[in-house]
Amino acid sequence: MSIYYYLAAFLFCLGLLGTIFKKDLISILLCLELMMSGVALLFILFSKSTGFLGAQLMVIFTMIISACEVAIGLSLIIALYRKKQTIYTDDIKIITE
């Protein structure tokens, strides 16, 4: 069971890596989702080790929040694509120009 703690930490960090170096917005959202699932796994493990049931409810809340995040993020991407015909972070630099 203890190996899952390392797995959760690894998933979180891998998601972090992806969010930094990926270039298109959809991949960044995918990596955020990976981070979220790492945190959810950690919550379940904590609930097992401490015997505290509320931690498992936090997993349900993480799922709700990630659903909202993904829905809004994807609709923003679609709106952006309609306006600019791109989804790459490098192309979106109105502020610097």
């Binding site: 190996i3 992806g18 298109d24 796994l41 049931l53 409810l57």
Partner: protein, 177 residues
């Protein structure tokens, strides 16, 4: 114990595939597989309800949204014409290693207290009596958040002009009685 290691290895492989694959659809497929293996891990840890919810919501709805949007946007027109920035990769790897090191250190120091099993009642009844008593306010707030997200999605993705045009066109198509 063997099954723990097996599931961990599979999850790690799919997670690596998610981050390092060049095609975004492959990434989305890897995310789906990661979520499913995580559901298996939840099942193995005894949270049966959460594993069902994970399959139902995360794999059944959220990952579908990703694939759906990818198909609406033709991603292949962008592919293979982007130069890689080495600095970004180095920085992100460094960040990842630092965070992973800190986390692994914390886990390593507390591994004895973390790997005991103190959970006695893992049933759905216990879970939901907790949800509807202690955690009722966060639960209600989550429903409000979902409602706000629905409204936001509709507002963001529809142009007002486009909506009016579509409606008039549809009315023209209706047969008159």
């Amino acid at each position: 114990m063997a099954i723990d290691i097996f599931l961990t290895i599979i999850t790690v492989i799919f997670a690596l595939m998610l981050v390092f694959s060049k095609r975004t659809v492959v990434s989305a497929f890897a995310l789906l597989m990661t979520l499913l293996t995580l559901a298996l891990i939840y099942f193995q840890l005894g949270s049966i309800f959460l594993s069902a919810v994970q399959v139902l919501i995360n794999a059944g709805a959220i990952a579908i949204l990703f694939v759906f949007v990818m198909m609406l946007i033709n991603l292949e027109q962008f592919q293979n014409n982007r130069e890689k920035s080495k600095i970004k990769l180095v920085i992100s790897t460094f960040t990842m290693l630092v965070v992973l090191g800190v986390l692994a250190l914390v886990i390593n120091n507390n591994i004895e207290t973390l790997s005991v099993n103190n959970l006695t009642d893992n049933s759905m009844n216990a879970l939901f009596s907790k949800l509807f008593s202690t955690y009722f306010l966060p639960f209600e707030m989550a429903t409000v958040l979902l409602l706000a997200a629905i409204v936001a999605c509709i507002v963001i993705t529809t142009h007002e002009k486009q909506l009016v045009e579509e409606e008039t066109e549809l009315h023209k198509m209706e047969p008159k009685l």
